[in-house]
């Protein structure tokens, strides 16, 4: 049985620009077969029990199998003037959708998995940062995250200490804000929107809203795909595939405070699809 709280959330199911006329595209959401297509009424998503609630935002189609508990989370930067919005396509990963999000929240792996791009030895230390579950918006936030990066973005020349903020506004979506190399005082925004196909299989749709008028679109997309594909071989080799919410199963450190808060938030809200409660 899928908990009602899970069914009542929004999940990404495709890129809006790719939705065509019937028969459309068949995919899956929380183990259920669904179909996306475009007709005179706009973009529709149908499941075994008829039409699903649909929202189109941030380049993607979002659907809800139950009754939406709230509107889709806001990303105010998506409408900020001067930003380029980049749909990065999809990558399928054999892992829990929650593990995909948790990896996105993690910086300590940069020197070992994104070597010489997002991190490099000996700059491995993760300084203390701040984490909170914001009660007003019901989101997990990490702020004042700093990390040394050899090549923080496609437009970055040479190493810089990058500042990050992370937020988890939905169980399988995360948005990060990072130092913008091209425009001091602004943040580049990168989201990963994870479509839970099943508890152990997901489609990941990265998306970006950047201040970068120089770099060709194909380069921006490939930079993001390169980063995410470096993570994929990690995500497919974590044991167990499900995210353990049992505190005894994995050992976090201070660098993992965002992940600790994310797991606590999931547990508190009963968003346990893709999670494992007790050690198997």
């Amino acid at each position: 049985m899928i908990p009602q709280a899970v069914l009542d959330e929004w999940y990404p199911v495709g890129m809006a620009a790719q939705v065509g006329p019937p028969p459309g595209r068949e995919t899956m959401l929380l183990g259920q077969p669904i179909t996306l297509f475009r007709d005179s009424a706009g973009i529709r998503v149908t499941g075994p029990d008829g039409d699903l609630a649909v929202t189109v935002a941030y380049g993607h189609v979002w659907a809800c199998l139950g009754t939406p508990a709230h509107a889709l989370f806001p990303i105010p930067e998506a409408t900020q003037e001067g930003r380029r919005l980049v749909d990065c396509g999809v990558v399928r990963v054999k892992c829990s959708p929650l593990r995909a999000v948790e990896n996105f929240l993690d910086i300590a792996h940069f020197p070992f998995v994104h070597t010489d791009i997002l991190g490099a030895e000996p700059h491995t230390e993760v300084a203390r940062y701040e984490v909170q579950i914001r009660e007003d918006s019901d989101e997990v936030w990490a702020t004042k995250v700093h990390f040394y990066q050899p090549q923080a973005a496609k437009s970055a020349e040479g190493g810089i200490v990058t500042e990050y903020m992370y937020r988890v506004p939905a169980p399988t979506a995360s948005v990060l804000y990072k130092t913008c190399p091209a425009r001091a005082g602004e943040w580049d925004v990168i989201g990963i929107f994870v479509q839970p196909l099943t508890e152990e299989l997901c489609d990941v749709w990265p998306w970006m809203a950047l201040f970068d008028d120089e770099t060709p679109m194909a380069d921006l997309i490939q930079f993001q795909q390169m980063i995410f594909l470096q993570d994929r071989s990690i995500l497919e080799n974590q044991i167990p595939r499900l995210l353990p919410l049992d505190p005894g199963m994995e050992i976090p450190t201070q660098a993992d405070l965002t992940s600790v808060a994310y797991r606590r938030w999931l547990k508190r809200k009963g968003l346990t699809y893709g999670a494992q409660m007790v050690a198997a």
Binding site: V91, F223, Q225
Partner: protein, 213 residues
């Protein structure tokens, strides 16, 4: 030299890797293979009617087959082609074999990663057949004290076969059962000037543990 490139393509990586190993600088032109399918666009097909990647342009020369690019880069640099009739013939044999790897393990990877519609069981089975042949060959090479596919040193045969083998797990084909293949991949990854691609991580052991900052 301009390489029309897609960062996740095993065939494009063959050429990037070969160029890095021989010290040839490439001007990389990113083509939006996914999600844009730019390689199938009319303007890209004006360059390469086959609508495939990679494409290598050097002055008037335009190459659209990655193995041809390996031959070009290696011949220009010297070495890497296998010397003598036997080795040269064996190199050609492995270049043909690399096409089988692309059609099996390569397609399994595109299926598992980017939703390519293929008979996944069939391509994985064909991929395992290829891996077994490769493992047996490399095991025999090791009996003779060799580690590379042809002769005593690395050739374009190794570079042509390495990417789709190393990326096999991306397509759901594990390499756990192939000890000789793993040691061969390690030898390639240890070559001076070797570069990675996503899915093939750095051999961190090649550098000593860092001193504290």
């Amino acid at each position: 030299m301009i390489l029309y490139d897609y960062v996740l393509s095993a065939s494009c990586y063959k050429v990037r890797l070969m160029a890095a190993l021989v010290g040839e600088r490439l001007d990389l032109q990113a083509v939006d293979f996914h999600p844009g399918r730019e390689h199938k666009s009319a303007s890209f097909r004006d360059l390469n009617p086959a609508g495939t990647l990679p494409v290598l342009v050097d002055g008037d020369l335009l190459l659209t087959e990655s193995t041809a690019m390996l031959v070009y880069l290696a011949t220009k640099a010297g070495g890497w082609m296998g010397s003598g009739a036997v080795n040269a013939a064996q190199v050609q044999g492995w270049l043909a074999f690399s096409a089988r790897l692309g059609a099996s393990l390569g397609m399994a990877r595109l299926h598992d990663m980017l939703h390519y519609p293929v008979d996944i069981a069939a391509v994985r089975r064909a991929g395992v057949d290829c891996l077994r042949e490769l493992e047996s060959h490399l095991t025999e090479a090791r009996f003779a004290g060799r580690i590379f596919l042809v002769g005593d040193g690395p050739t374009i045969a190794d570079i042509a076969c390495f990417p789709n083998v190393a990326l096999a797990p991306d397509g759901g084909v594990a390499l756990d059962d192939y000890p000789s293949i793993r040691l061969w991949m390690r030898a390639i990854r240890s070559l001076e000037r070797f570069i990675e691609m996503p899915g093939i991580h750095r051999l961190h052991e090649l550098k000593p543990a860092p001193e504290a900052v």
